[in-house]
Symmetry: C2
């Protein structure tokens, strides 16, 4: 059996009691470590779970899954995923390979907390969210803006948009690679401030009033942990916000934002008066 | 401190390790028992957690929250919620009351699995979902159809819609009430089949090609438990589907449904050939 086990969002004790029992008994334990990260290191998990953990990077999961699946038709293998197992399509892929394996490998999934619902901590109703989008790190020459079209669709319906921010772990240094050496860059995690800047940058070229400076948004960091942080304000204000350590996410508020949502979220505002004023001008009428 | 603790979806062992530690130490433990239910009874929770649990019905949470919040500014109170704490606005309400309490009551939320992401078990990508809607039990004279407008918005963008199904717990019997007696009806949980019927019924009056008989949909039951069940097919086929015990939910597939999503979901199809044919005709072109 392949158990795909969600770990939740913060640390080694966010696993479910059921998940922990499986991890402690499994033949091998893998940790998927490239679509999201916990706020603690692998050794904290190993100490608490009492198991040694094999890191599964993108290459191992996508190209060398035979190793992960070896003997899994008769032995129990635990594959740990930060957040909820279905938060990334890569895990559906893995389940599909189990189904097509000869002999087929039974799978079982243990759901857990995901940023997709933990974002309710902002006070925004989960019923008022449209599709979720991803934001990647822009470079000088590569500024993919397809997120803008998806957000525009949500905006047209007055819905909120959760923006998930890029993480880069185990990226090879290209200069070293050119010299035939594999050297990994330190991990990078996009901040709320950088995401807000990139959104404003694309608004300035696309100009469809989707994510300009005066739009209300909420930045979140380390949700579900004791040190979680939430900051609300205009996108322009958020370009200056420092929410500290990763992981960060951002919500762009839709203009159907209800009075009760506003009442809850304004407590997190950089500038409450400004937040109220903009909400009344541009949001209250639609809610 | 008021701890609002998600229990996850299936049974007493879906709570996080951290949540269990808090429950075992808290002064009082409440269980919100009207927006969702676990697949086990209260006594299973009490036995496993080693605590007696006070059931918090709608009246207690919405009108008598003073009892729940009593002394919570200096003692720890655990408020348990099936699924994720923010899955229903009623919990945001409670957190707001803590903030406005004199003296203010600190709160902490422990996220957990929610149907909103566990629905990824269908193979549908969580990125391709639009807004979530609710479906209530129709009566002869009351068939609220506002869900149709929300689904139509998702359909216009090619997005999937998660439909959450009505539950009725602790509803008074109206005949007894007229005689001055309070007698509660047995709990009722909407099935996938009934939801599919109601969707088709409204399509027949509204006629905007949103949720007619030939639309693809996926019914799910008891997600996250060992007995989880998933059935895919046309809405018409789902009106005949028996997914057994509660809780059920339904996903209406958007026509941007990707080939990989189709490949995964078709394994659950009542009639795979029909599923493939309809997908090719009406969905594949958009994906």
């Amino acid at each position: 059996m392949l158990y795909i086990i969600g770990l939740g969002l913060a640390d080694e004790r966010d696993i479910s009691v059921k998940g922990l029992e499986i991890v402690r008994k499994a033949e091998r334990v893998y940790l998927e470590a490239y679509t999201a990260v916990l706020l603690v290191e692998k050794d904290a998990l190993e100490a608490y779970y009492g198991r040694s953990i094999i890191i599964a990077d993108r290459e191992k999961v996508e190209s060398q899954s035979d190793e992960i699946l070896a003997e899994a038709h008769e032995k129990d293998v635990a594959f740990l995923v930060v957040g909820d197992p279905f938060s990334a399509t890569t895990h559906t892929d893995l389940a599909l390979r189990c189904r097509q394996h000869e002999p087929p490998i039974p799978t079982r999934t243990l759901p857990n907390a995901s940023i997709l619902t933990a974002v309710g901590a902002t006070g925004l109703s989960l019923y008022n969210f449209g599709q979720t989008v991803s934001m990647v790190f822009f470079t000088e020459s590569w500024k993919p803006d397809s997120f803008y079209d998806r957000i525009a669709e949500n905006v047209s319906l007055g819905l909120h948009t959760l923006v998930l921010l890029d993480i880069k772990v185990k990226e090879p240094n290209l200069q070293a690679l050119a010299r035939g050496k594999i050297v990994y860059e330190p991990p990078r995690f996009m901040s709320v401030a950088q995401c807000a800047s990139q959104m404003i940058e694309i608004e300035e070229t696309r100009k469809s009033d989707v994510c300009g400076k005066e739009k209300l948004a909420i930045g979140v960091a380390r949700l579900g942990s004791e040190g979680e942080q939430i900051v609300a304000g205009t996108l322009e204000e958020l370009t200056e916000a420092d929410l500290g350590k990763p992981l960060h996410s951002l919500v762009l508020c839709g203009n159907k934002m209800h009075e009760m949502e506003c009442e809850y979220a304004r407590e997190f505002a950089v500038d409450k008066e400004k937040f109220d004023r903009i909400w009344k001008q541009n949001y209250a009428a639609r809610s």
